[in-house]
Amino acid sequence: MHNKLSKLAALAVAVPLALVGCAGAPGGGSGSDEITYWLWDANQLPAYQACATDFEKANPDTKVKVEQFGWADYWNKLTTDLVAGTAPDVFTNHLNYFATYAAKNQLLPLDEFVTRDGVPTDVYPQGLADLWTTQDGKRYGLPKDFDTVALFYNKEMLADAGVAEADLANLTWNPQDGGTYEKLIAHLTVDANGKRGDEPGFDKTKVAVHGLGLDENNGAGVGQQMWSMYALSTGWTYTDENPWGSHFNYDDPRFQRTMAWFRGLMDKGYLPSLATARSGTSVNDGFGAGKYALSTNGSWMINSYFGYDGVEVGVAPTPTGPSGKRATIFNGLADSIYTGTDNREGAWKWVKHLASAECQKTVGEQAVVFPALPEALAVAKEKFAAKGVDITAFTQPVDEGATHLYPITDHAPEIAAVMGPAIDAVLTSQADPASLTQANEQVNALFR
């Protein structure tokens, strides 16, 4: 009896031990002839799977394993895998994270390979490739796509308001009275009694349709889809230089006046309050449900905006500001190689393929994002048009030189932690725009 008990007990101990032993074996790192590749966007998975198939055909000795994880899990998983030494050989990188990883020596500089194989880096739209070089001049990624911000509009609401779609291409904006842009937003706002925002008797406490939608995400210190297109069109810039600035300009009156104007839209009832915007659904779903007539958002959201049943959608460029130019943030993704990869050559071959016209055209075919190479962008443009989407409003600022690079600096997460609540406080009227001067001091203190 005791003997049996002891044996059972021993078994009970041995089994979990064995399991732990298994878990200890190297997990994520791939064998020398297999490259693991990560991305976060499920919509792009088929495109990159197709690129992988083409790649394997041309390089029969190298296999590519494409894995996709949702945005929120992606960075946690990547970080823990970097620590554990089991990170993927190649992964899709974002500008918000790349500086941190590069500074902590987790990324393989590509310069040696780029020079050796003569890969051109001047074929991309202006500035795009520079985003992926650090202050010491090392390159950590080749651009794969780009994005800009534009103004989505509800065609039916425009028609009901008697506004011609073509007029949206010539909107002007300023932080004092909002220009023709604010006039349009006011006119498109409708209260529960059917009164428009620019009519006498308009009830701002019972708005049925807001002229402009408010992004539900916390824009932190960048406000990419939220307020960057206004602030940047005043001539204001985030930092003293970009990339790798070390002094932020949230104390600039042009920036603070822009924020005051933006909050004013809420007070007037043209823009939903921050509370409403953050209360449950996304700005695009609100737009799809007919709660907003206009909505500024990024090109990566095209398929969401155009995907709502029974909603006719158009896109216009952002308004022209006091500087005489429109403005949009110009951002993009790239593929980076993990320093700990056991197959540098294979990883590089795959990155080179991802940056090639062949793969980017395959991606363009799917009409999900804008490929970085102009010839591949042409393919995407055609495919988007076939789906009834004219992407000119997104590409026009690139041709006009009206784009501004995403602010690349050190301390990006710490800056977001300061600016997120600070801008929330301004937009909820808990603080004045002038309070952003103090937040700016906190941000700049990070660089001292």
Partner: protein
């Protein structure tokens, strides 16, 4: 007597062996990380580079960190609303079940919300409570009440999150209390009935005092769980608007996994551990959880 004792002692080794797997898990997944965390709280550690010993600097920083103070306050507000409402509601449901129905179907139904994943519950309520498109506000406007941005207002965000979690947990808590109720002998109720006591009098004079040890246990467990509120915040308000829902675990998570300040996050979690340990001891003392009025 002697044979009994030897028999007793010879059971110790198999017993220990059986406990070993659990002990192994405890040491590996709880004790060792706890020791590690304690060590890391005295370091500057960014995960991707080796930890650097900086003494008590993280603790000094925490003392002067207004956002940490705010996180504690917000968390306490959450716990008070969450535990207060949940305990009363669960007690009410448990007594109802105990006095009125023996139906296991009802008991099963009560447990349903608890069987849905936290994140799913949070997201469904988040959508239902939307100011413009949520069904709850549609009903409110139908009876003439202006829409409320439950998750979006700084004043209502924490109460909303607290109540959503009450909805999820009260059935489970009620079952725990119900189990305690069943341990109360029927005879005391019969005696009370013979004395002609009202339901309320029976509840005050019989049920509540005899339930005290179980209630104490339930409170200790739920309060500790409540302090660890994270997932609902992470998928809905993400700490905002402003700092209204930046509860301590979410703040800690931001420090560690977004800002790579693992040393500081470790220090914050040690502080939280001390607070919770103190709270648990105080609760058990105050509620005299070890003794029962049945003796």
């Amino acid at each position: 007597m002697t044979t009994h004792r030897t028999r007793h002692r010879s059971d110790v080794w198999p017993a220990l062996l059986f406990l070993l797997p659990a002990g192994f898990g405890f040491v590996l997944f709880y004790a060792w990380p706890a020791v590690q965390t304690f060590y890391l709280s005295f370091t500057d550690y960014s995960l991707l580079a080796a930890p650097n010993w900086i003494g008590a600097q993280n603790y000094r920083d925490a003392l002067g960190d207004a956002r940490f103070g705010n996180a504690l306050l917000v968390t306490v507000e959450y716990v008070v609303i969450n535990i207060g409402v949940q305990t009363v509601a669960a007690l009410f449901i448990a007594v109802l079940m105990h006095r009125l129905t023996k139906s296991s179907l009802v008991r099963g139904l009560l447990l349903l919300p608890y069987l849905i994943a936290n994140v799913v519950v949070a997201l469904v309520w988040y959508n239902m409570l939307d100011a413009q498109l949520g069904i709850v506000n549609a009903v409110l406007s139908w009876v003439g009440i202006d829409p409320v941005a439950f998750f979006g207002e700084t004043s209502t965000a924490i109460p909303t999150i607290a109540l959503v979690n009450v909805w999820r947990h009260m059935g489970y808590t009620a079952l725990l209390i119900f189990a305690g109720l069943q341990a109360i002998p029927k005879s005391v109720y019969e005696a009370a009935a013979i004395d002609g006591a009202s339901e309320w009098r029976i509840f005050r004079g019989v049920t509540l005092p005899l339930l005290r040890p179980v209630l104490a246990m339930v409170l200790v467990l739920t309060v500790i769980g409540s302090f660890q509120i994270f997932d609902t915040v992470a998928v809905t308000t993400k700490g905002g608007p402003v700092d209204a829902t930046r509860v301590i675990y979410f703040y800690l998570y931001e420090k560690a996994f977004q800002q790579f300040d693992f040393g500081y996050a470790a220090a914050l979690s040690v502080v939280l551990f001390l607070i919770l340990a103190g709270l648990a001891v105080a609760q058990l003392r105050l509620l005299r959880a070890g003794s029962s009025d049945l003796d």
